[in-house]
């Protein structure tokens, strides 16, 4: 309460609405920083869905069976759909999709760093679906209660589809683990490469997280990075063990007292390196998006020109 005393009346009222778990809607008054913070988070989320199409999409043409191919296509298509829901949610905050894409291209807006790693073998498609979508679910379930209405509703829609993604990824891993030795090696190798980047998906430790405190107060975020990461580790470790995979962390152990797994230190230097643009695929991922967007400009112009002609024609009739 004493905290709220320092706020101007509008902000005070706003904070009490948040405290009362009321949803903020597009037309409601909101502090400029709340708006900007949300735009940052939602657009980062949207870009992640879209850039995430690439590492998985590049295995559609090589999927080992027709059934896997069809499932992967549906999965990647869902991710594009998630991007769409999220851009729409961001647009309710008074920013256009063009501006959002521009920010992605200039590097002003980020996307999940994990998509800067390459998908080298078919097992990577299993690992991504299982781990990356699991991590996304853990995060997104908590965001179903985020304070901004359109964002919360987008999360509800998205979460429904994510569990299918997670299951198909885990099913790929399970099938590999039940297969030949080379398949088990492939699966283990994929886990070795994707495990730590998955833990990094939850962001810096709470103490070091730049945006966390204010975002929690505004209920843009509902649970801390470390809490979410712990939940992910607890479930993923058991899933790994169930199919005979070894989590690549020598410090991993069950802590009876905490009722959670303790795990080793995350290499934050690696995290910083990739976030700041020097991961293995940062340049290709962005260049791919820029290229597709640039190459598509004439199509978007044609659509606009066609619509304009139609409007004129309608006006003449009327």
């Amino acid at each position: 309460m004493s905290d709220n005393m320092s706020l101007v009346p509008n902000e005070q009222k706003f904070q009490s609405r948040i405290d009362a778990e009321e949803k903020v809607e597009p037309k409601d008054w909101m502090p400029e920083k709340y708006r900007q913070n949300l735009i940052r988070q939602i657009s980062q989320h949207a870009h992640s869905e879209v850039i995430g199409e690439q590492p998985e999409g590049n295995w559609i043409s090589r999927a080992p069976t027709l059934e896997r191919k069809a499932i992967l296509m549906a999965k990647v298509q869902d991710e594009a759909g998630h991007g769409l829901y999220l851009y729409a949610a961001a647009e309710t905050l008074g920013i256009t999709r063009d501006e959002l894409i521009d920010r992605l291209h200039t590097g002003a807006s980020k996307y999940a760093s994990i998509f800067n790693y390459p998908s080298l073998t078919w097992a990577d498609i299993g690992a991504i679906g299982w781990l990356v979508d699991s991590a996304a679910i853990v995060n997104q379930v908590s965001l179903q209660n985020t304070s901004y209405g359109p964002y919360a509703r987008a999360m509800v829609k998205i979460c429904k589809e994510e569990s299918f993604h997670q299951r198909q990824g885990y099913n790929i891993m399970m099938t590999l683990m039940q297969g030949a030795e080379l398949q088990r090696d492939m699966a283990q190798d994929a886990l070795n490469r994707w495990w730590w980047p998955s833990l990094m998906m939850f962001g810096p430790h709470d103490a070091e997280s730049a945006h966390s405190a204010q975002s929690m107060k505004w209920k843009i975020k509902r649970r801390s990075n470390d809490e979410l990461r712990q939940q992910f580790v607890d479930q993923a470790v058991q899933q790994a063990q169930a199919i005979g995979l070894v989590v690549p962390d020598p410090d991993l152990s069950w802590n009876e007292e905490r009722g959670h797994y303790d795990f080793g230190a995350i290499d934050w230097q690696e995290f910083q390196r990739v976030v700041s643009g020097n991961g293995p695929c940062n340049r290709q991922r962005l260049a791919h998006h820029v290229e597709a967007h640039t190459e598509g400009a004439w199509v978007r112009e044609a659509m606009a020109a066609f619509e304009a002609k139609r409007r004129t024609a309608r006006a003449e009739v009327a």
Binding site: K69, A70, M73, V299
Partner: protein
């Protein structure tokens, strides 16, 4: 892989068309001009891959033994594939992909409608599902012809160029060889040569509205049905079959 039974050969043919078309469309994922098109193109791609699976599953059933849908997709070389050349041409730009789609959809709708009346109940059932999809595909690709044809000068030119490039490959859709003719007599297959006038009407009407010219007939390139393809199919297969070739005999 030698296929002797005429019905099996016919069914595999239809599966090949759908698989290769689906493959080309799926190449657009993450590369479309805007996000809604990523989704729409992958929707259509999924329809075609789904259609291929139904045809191949039926063919596998006809062959019996160890053969599965994947045998057809992953265990055959270029000379065994019998898809239309139109389906395998590289995706080109967005105009090329949509013009190809339009020319094919305008064929595919009357084709699947006719196949619904096949005396072979399995083929008729697959066609019933495919016909609904084709109806939507044609609506979609026709809309794009209008937008691109009557959009900007650039989009108009790109479309017109694409049509000129594609036209020579359209003849093959209406070609009836002995295999088809025999199955037509049995009421199983569609006499595609009888679909040409319907097709041309649809195409002419839409292109006219889109301010595009119907290309002059240049004769036709054919060969897909007997496994004489363009250079491009080999590369599709090299990519598509990589896993099954590198790691044969495993479950995935």
């Amino acid at each position: 892989m030698k296929l002797n039974d005429p019905l099996t050969r016919y069914v595999v043919r239809l599966g090949d068309d759908a698989l290769i078309m689906g493959h080309r469309l799926s190449e657009w994922m993450s590369r479309a001009p805007f996000l809604e098109e990523d989704i729409a193109l992958s929707n259509v791609a999924l329809d075609f891959v789904g259609r291929a699976r139904l045809f191949y599953q039926y063919a596998a059933e006809l062959m019996g033994g160890e053969v599965t849908e994947d045998t057809f997709a992953y265990q055959r070389d270029v000379r065994d594939f019998t898809n239309l050349l139109l389906c395998e041409l590289p995706r080109g730009d967005f105009a090329f992909t949509l013009c190809r789609q339009f020319l094919y959809d305008a064929f595919s709708l009357p084709f699947t409608q006719a196949l619904c009346h096949s005396t072979d109940p399995q083929l008729a059932a697959i066609a019933a599902k495919a016909e609904k999809e084709s109806r939507y595909h044609l609506r979609r690709s026709s809309d794009w012809m209008l937008r691109l044809g009557d959009g900007t000068q650039e989009s108009h030119e790109r479309c017109q160029n694409a049509l000129e490039q594609l036209w020579i490959y359209t003849d093959e859709m209406f070609e009836c060889d002995d295999l088809v003719n025999d199955l037509v007599v049995a009421g199983v297959a569609v006499n595609t040569s009888s679909l040409r006038s319907t097709w041309l009407e649809t195409v002419t009407e839409t292109l006219r509205t889109a301010t595009l010219a119907v290309p002059e007939s240049q004769g036709g390139v054919t060969g897909g049905r007997v496994g004489i393809h363009t250079d491009d199919l080999g590369f599709i297969l090299a990519e598509m079959q990589f896993m099954q070739r590198a790691y044969p005999g495993l479950q995935w």
